[in-house]
Subunit: 162 residues, 2 copies
Amino acid sequence: MPTDPSPDMTGTEANPPGLASSVNALFESRIPAMHRLGIRIVELREGFVAGTAPIADNLNYQGSMYAGTLFGLGEALGGGLFVATFDLRRFTATVKDMQIRYRRPAMTDVRAEASLDASTIARIKREAEESGKTEFVLDAELTDTEGVVVAITHGTYQVRAL
Amino acid sequence: MPTDPSPDMTGTEANPPGLASSVNALFESRIPAMHRLGIRIVELREGFVAGTAPIADNLNYQGSMYAGTLFGLGEALGGGLFVATFDLRRFTATVKDMQIRYRRPAMTDVRAEASLDASTIARIKREAEESGKTEFVLDAELTDTEGVVVAITHGTYQVRAL
C-alpha cells in the first residue's frame, strides 16, 4: 500500500475513491480499442480530468507517438469528465467534433489534462435536466514527461438523456 | 484468384501493383498501433487513396465505431498519399493538425476516400524539391457500407526532406 495516499484514494467528496479506476474498467469493457492503445484516466473529479498514454507499443515510423493515440488520449478526457458529471443510468455522451494540433513529436509517455469551470458544469447539468441534452467544449494540453506541450486538442461533446 | 482483377492487380502506371499492400506492410511494421486498429489502405495511386476500418474489435459503448478508429482511418489516408507521391528514401511526412466531425454513428465497417488534384501534386513535388519541405491539405469522407457519411476529416500534412 502507498504510504502517502493520493487524494483519489482518500475519497473526498470532490474526488471519489476509485472513480478513475472505474472509468478505466468501463473503457476496458465498453471501448476496448481505446483501452488497447494504453489510454488511461489517472485523475478524475468533477471539473478536472487527467489521462496518460504510453510511448511503448505506440511508436510510429519516426520513433515518436502515433498521431491516433495522441488524439485518442485527448478525446478520452471528455468521456472521463462526462462520467464524473452525469448519472450514467440517465445520460449518454458522444464526441461531436474534435481538432488536434500536433506541436512537437512526443518521444515519451504523454499526459493530458482538461478542466471545466464550475459555472460550465452548472450550465450543462441544468440544460441536460431541462431539455434532455447539452454540449460542452473541452480544451486539453498534451505534454511529454518534461512538461513540453506535444499537442493540443479542442473537442465538442454532446450529452443526451437515455 | 479473383476472376475480375482490380486495377490494383493489373498494375497500370497510375496504379502500381501492390502499392496499397506495400503501404499496409509498412504501417504494420512501423506504426503497429494503427495496424492493430484494423486500418488498411485498399486503393492507392498518385492522387487517390481509399482505406477501411472494421467495426469488429472497434465497438464503443454505444455499439458504434470508436471515435479514435474513425480518426485514425482519416489520418492514415495522408500517409498513403505521401507514399504514393514521394520517394521514401528522400522525404518524410507528419500530420500537423487534423479535425474530425462526426456526423452519424458508424454501425458497420467504414470506408474513407480522399484525393489530391494534379496541380496540387505538381505543386507539392516542386516545393519539396526546391525548398526541402511542403504541405498538403486533405479532406476525406468516411462512409458506412450503405454509403452514408459518418464523419469527415480535414488534415494538414507536412513533408520534409530527410
